[in-house]
Symmetry: C2
Subunit: 383 residues, 2 copies
Amino acid sequence: MSFFRSRWVEAPAGIEELDPAQLPPGFRAGGAHCGLKGGGRTDVGLLVCDAEEVASSLLLTRNASAAAPIRVCRQVVDRGGVRAAVVNSGNANAETGEQGFADALAMSAEAAKQLGLAVEQVAVAETGTIGVPLPIEAVLEGIGEAAGGLGADGGTAFSNAILTTDRWPKSCTLRAGGVTLSAQAKGAGMIEPNMATMLCFVQTDAVVEDADALLREAVDASFNRITVDGQMSTNDTVLLQASGAAGKPLPEGLLEAVLKQLAIEIVRDGEGAVRTARVEVTGAATAAEAERVSRAIANSPLVKTALFGRDPNWGRIAQAAGAALAGEDLEELGAENIEAAELGADVPEAEIGLHLDRGEHAAHVWFSDLGYDYIKLNAEYTT
Amino acid sequence: MSFFRSRWVEAPAGIEELDPAQLPPGFRAGGAHCGLKGGGRTDVGLLVCDAEEVASSLLLTRNASAAAPIRVCRQVVDRGGVRAAVVNSGNANAETGEQGFADALAMSAEAAKQLGLAVEQVAVAETGTIGVPLPIEAVLEGIGEAAGGLGADGGTAFSNAILTTDRWPKSCTLRAGGVTLSAQAKGAGMIEPNMATMLCFVQTDAVVEDADALLREAVDASFNRITVDGQMSTNDTVLLQASGAAGKPLPEGLLEAVLKQLAIEIVRDGEGAVRTARVEVTGAATAAEAERVSRAIANSPLVKTALFGRDPNWGRIAQAAGAALAGEDLEELGAENIEAAELGADVPEAEIGLHLDRGEHAAHVWFSDLGYDYIKLNAEYTT
């Protein structure tokens, strides 16, 4: 089993791992190079579910300064009936004004035309440089080319079409309980110019009753529990499509396990990251408090540099927690409340903990370290 | 005029700058070395106002995981009648439990004894390593030594007694409108072990009617408007003492100008900082929104690395603002709303701006860049 490699992910039993190029029955995908990325790399992708009665859900960034494709998805796309997705990598089409919106809509329209679908059935996602007009003619041509090469083994081409500065692809195809599920993600490692965009696409032939509830719950336990630098992207998108062709439900916990593994991969591949950690806060007075304190620790540059420097500095955890609880009546947090040993240990996945002794609530967050390469990636690249 | 050197500080007219060693009439200070810092450096300090009717105000960190001296100040000290302050640098006496509280109280008691005051008249402030027991006997001896050397020209000794990894002292003595005001501050540059503690002491012979209101307003416009890494310390303390001996009020705006200059010095001397910036957000719907957006920009590692890398990357400002306004209905923020040119300019103090076009409210924050030296200071030091 090579996909589920994090200590923090428990996969359901009896999973068979397939070539990630292979999509579940009823799905086809393809990619093309249109010139947004250098070196002839795949930068346009198309994905389609051939089943007419697809069950889908689409989660989008809440960033108020959202990119054009997000606005198209919000305003035009029917989130419950997404048959296809069209993507590019290399240009985020963000902060591009009315022309950007028109371009994103044109991408969706071209994909719809190629696939014989309506515009509201095609989600559009883009990632890459912001503030730069999209070379729309080249992109439309790329979409045509990708449409011409659609295949059931197009998972890898589609995965490649969303990668930017990811150091490795993040995809899988799994079989369990008589259904197949594939997923392609890209993570937070963009230097063009430095938005930590996260995209994820999931396809399955399982029967899914309430796609929104299922995806929301799995995302809450995975992508919503990670932080690289505390920055919410203008372009984040997660799409789930279920064709129902297998006539069986998804095994309990499978989607959540897949998204957790992908989320942790994104953290591992965070900008310049070399180590990953999970912080768990227990004993909080409320769920919101547990959440706030765990995020404060995960986003603290002092904790993140300690993780990078292998410094088991529990004082920084106490400080970040105390700041998050400013104004509260808190007993001094001593070493006995804090597990920081793995911050200093030579493990790739460090587990740290804080017990507040204020109540029964808990929360956890995965995060990356902060080292020289983050500065290098973000300071030495000039737009 | 060498003290007011920031482009962002407008000092009242007619100020005479004196040697910062010189305290206002009626104040005496002194320092000693007790071994908390190496190299024989001054690490214990004592400051006293000889006027019995001192008007004072004391502002303390709201960090819920506050250090022992903060707890002593909160629980024991009469903030309106602080005659003296006793300080050490090199040991924060934080996360030190009941013994730490007893030690901080012992410092206050020893200072009170030496000066013939009550414990509630003596503020105590400490800064340095956390989680390490205070060598209290040596500190008490140092307090005795400092008491023996108290003098009207003890401003520099006292200033030295609060410095940790500051690259330069932050102090001044000024005369204007028939009154004298002196101040000593230390900033956010600790590598022992990396709490960004801020301490500031202000003495004047002016008549101050409402010390709390005056200090609160000046701190709101200065120390509360800066961020180095978004971290609130366990030990932050600001003390204002006014003897009233001059029989005249403080010139309008003088205290605020002094604290602003000191606050900007602290940012300039932030951990590894090489450049300082001020971001102003205008056109916000509410004051709280202006505040939230300006702090989100100032604390964004992407904006901070752009400042370090001299990258006029307005997209990062749009992204940080959009994240702070998540869920709001916001028009896309274009280059026309954002002044980011000085992010890329070769100026030590960069001015950047964002106009939201949502209302009439504005806020600003000063912040430092994020570069290799921050990582070096915070990752390579092992506790």
